[in-house]
C-alpha cells in the first residue's frame, strides 16, 4: 500500500489484519492497530480538518495526543484526536469543519 515502508535497515513492521474504514464516504484500507491519522497519511491524506474561524486546512502536528491539531469527526462524534484513536473496521471518519456540534 502507498505510503507504507516495506523494507527498513533497522526495523521490521509487523502489520496486523487488513481492515477498511471510510473517510468522507470514501473507502480506505488500513491495518489494525494503526491510528486514524496514521492510516490516513498512508493513504496520502494529510488535511484532517478546517479551522473554526478562518477555515484553514490543518493536520497533524504532534501525533502523540498533545496539541489537538488533528481533531476529526469519528463515528459522528466531533473533536476526537485522530492521532490517538485506533482505526476500526467500518469506522466513519470525516474532516471536522468548525468547532463541531456539542452532542
Amino acid at each position: 500500500m502507498e505510503g507504507r515502508i516495506e523494507e527498513h535497515p533497522i526495523l521490521q513492521f509487523k502489520r496486523k489484519k487488513k481492515i477498511k474504514f471510510y473517510f468522507e464516504d470514501r473507502e480506505v484500507e488500513a491495518f489494525e492497530g494503526e491510528t486514524v491519522a496514521a492510516a490516513l497519511h498512508a493513504a496520502g491524506i494529510r488535511v484532517l480538518r478546517h479551522t473554526p474561524n478562518l477555515g484553514r486546512p490543518t493536520g497533524l502536528f504532534c501525533a502523540i495526543g498533545k496539541c489537538s491539531s488533528c481533531l476529526m469527526e469519528i463515528d459522528g462524534i466531533p473533536n476526537v484526536r485522530s492521532c490517538m484513536t485506533k482505526v476500526k473496521e467500518g469506522m466513519r471518519v470525516r474532516r471536522q469543519k468548525g468547532k463541531g456540534d456539542v452532542l
Binding site: G3, I10, T35, P57, C62, K66
Partner: protein, 600 residues
Amino acid sequence: MNLYQAVIIGGGPAGMMGAITLGNHSVKTIILDENESIGGQLVKQTHKFFGDHAHYASTRGFEIAQKLDEEIVKNENIEVENDATVIGIYPNNTVVYIKDGQEHKIQAKKILIATGAMEKQLPFINSDLPGVYGAGAVQTLMNEYGIMPGKRFLIIGSGNIGLILAYQLIQAGVEVRAIVEALGKVGGYEVHANKVKRLGVPILLNHTIVRAIGDESVEGAVIAKIDDKFQTIPGTEREMVVDTIAISVGLTPLTELAEQAGCKVEFIPELGGYVPIRDERMRTTNPDVFIAGDLSSIEEATTAMIEGKIAALEMARDINGSDTKEEIEEELRTLALFRSGPKSVKIRSGLEKMGIKISIPTKPIINEKKEDVIGKLRAVLECDEEIPCNSCEASCPFGAIHIGENLNSTPVLDAEKCTGCGTCVNACPGLAIFMMKENEEESTVTLGIPYELLPLSEKGQKMWGLSKEGNYVCDVTVERVIKYPNKTNIVYAKLPIEFKDTVRHFAFPKKESPIVCRCEEVSLEQIEKVIDSGVTDFEEIKRLTRVTMGPCGGKNCKLVVLGILSRKTGVPISKLSHGTSRPPVKPVEFSVFKKGGDER
C-alpha cells in the same frame, strides 16, 4: 476507589525505570499511560544511545523500551494500565483517568509524574499547513507505524532531534533537502551532525524558514539567511521544493498535571520553560508528588531513566521505609557524571537556579592522541567533542580504547593494542569510528565504515566514496561486508591512499553524474569524457573543462580530478603531474591589479 502505594503517570523511560525500582522495593505500583503500550518516545528511537554501559549504552531506543517492558511484566508489584488518559489530580492524591470512555479514580500514597514534554511550535507564514509537523510526529508515523508522511523533507532546527530525524528519514529511504539552523553553529552533538553531513544533507547555519508554500498541503518552503539579530536578510530568500517540513526547535515540559497536584512551577528557560520546582531527589513542593524525565528538564532518555530511579528510591523510603540511601547517592553521582560535559552547561545552570548544585566528580578531558601505526588494520576514532559516552571503551575486547573516569572525556586509541576486530565500529552510537589499513605498495587504503542503510553492498561492487560533507571524492571497490545482529554493519572498500582522510561514506552511484568542481560546475561525466577522448594531461583537462579554475583555485577538486585521471590511466596519483599553482590563491578583486602595486 482503588488504593495504591504509588501511581506513576506516564510510561516513558522515566516512568518505566521508576516503576521497576519501586517494584523491586516491594511497593505496589500502577503505571497509567495514554498509549496502547508503554515505552513513551523510546519506541520510535532507532538509534543507539550514548552513555554508560550500565545504562543501556549502545542499545537502540526501541530495544531499551522492550527490555524495560520485559522487566515490568515480570515484576508482580507493577500493574500497567494502558490507553488510560489522566485528566486530573485532585486532593488526597486522587488521580482521575479515562479509559474506554469511562472515568476511573484511584488514590495513592505517592505520585510520580513523568508526563514528558511536547514539541515547541515555530510561527511562520503557513506554519499551520498540513505537512508541517513536529519532528516527533514524523518519527511516530515513520518508526512506529512504518508510514512515511512525505518524500522530500526540510528540517528546521539542528539539535539532536533534528539531526537524528534526518538520519532516520534517509534510512527509511526518503530525501532530506536540508537542515536549517538559526544559530551560527550546530545545536546537537557533532557526531550526530557528521552522520548526516556525509550522507549529503547540508546544514544551513544562520538560516530560517520564512514561509511554507501550498494551498491545501505543503508543496515548498522559502528559507532565508538571518543576521545576528535573527532578522532575515533581504535578497537571500530561496525556494525549496519539499512536501514536508519537520520542526525541531525544542521541547517544552507538560506541567499541567503537576500544577493541578499543587506543585509550584517556575519559568527556567534552560530547562525547557515552565518546570515544577523540585529538590535533588525529584520531590516537588507537594511532598507526596515527584517528577522525573523531560517534565523536570528537557534532556535525554538516559538521564530521564536515572531521575526516575532516584525519585522511586526516595518514594520507596517514604512508603515502606526501604533503606535506599546508598543507592540514591550512587545514582546522584552517575547523574552528575552525565551532566558534567560542556553540552550540559545549560542544564547545570538551570538546575542551579532551582538551588541544585551539581558537583562534578572528575572533570572531562580531551585525551591526547597517541601515535598511529600506519599500514596496520586499526580503528580510527573521530569523536573529538566531550559527550557522555564510553561505548567504544567498554566494547573493545582488547582494552585498546581509553576514555577514563569521566565518560565525557574524548576517546583515544592505542593503535599498538588494536587488533582490527571492528567491535568498536559496530558499537559506537555516534558512528564515529572507522577502520583503516594502508596498502602502501599499491597506493591504496582499505577503509571500513559503519553502514546502516539499504541496500547493503556486496563484495566487488563499485561505489562512490563521499567526503565528510557528502561530496563525491572517488570511486571505491567493496572488499568485504561484515553483518552484525545489531544492524550496524561494516563495509570495507578500497580507494586511492590519497583519500584516506577524506572519504567517510560509501554510496551507490546515482544516475545523475556528481559535480566534481563546484565553482565551475563540472561533472564527473564531463571530465571522464575528456579523458576518454585521449587527453591525459592535467593542464589540458583544466583548459578543456575549466576544473580547478574557479574562485577556490582547485582546493576542493584538484585531488579529486587527479584521482579520476589516475583511475582512468592506471598511473598512481603521486606519479601524475598536477599542474602549476598560480596566484592568486584566494579570490581577489580585479581592481586590485589595475591600481598597480607598491613594490618593496
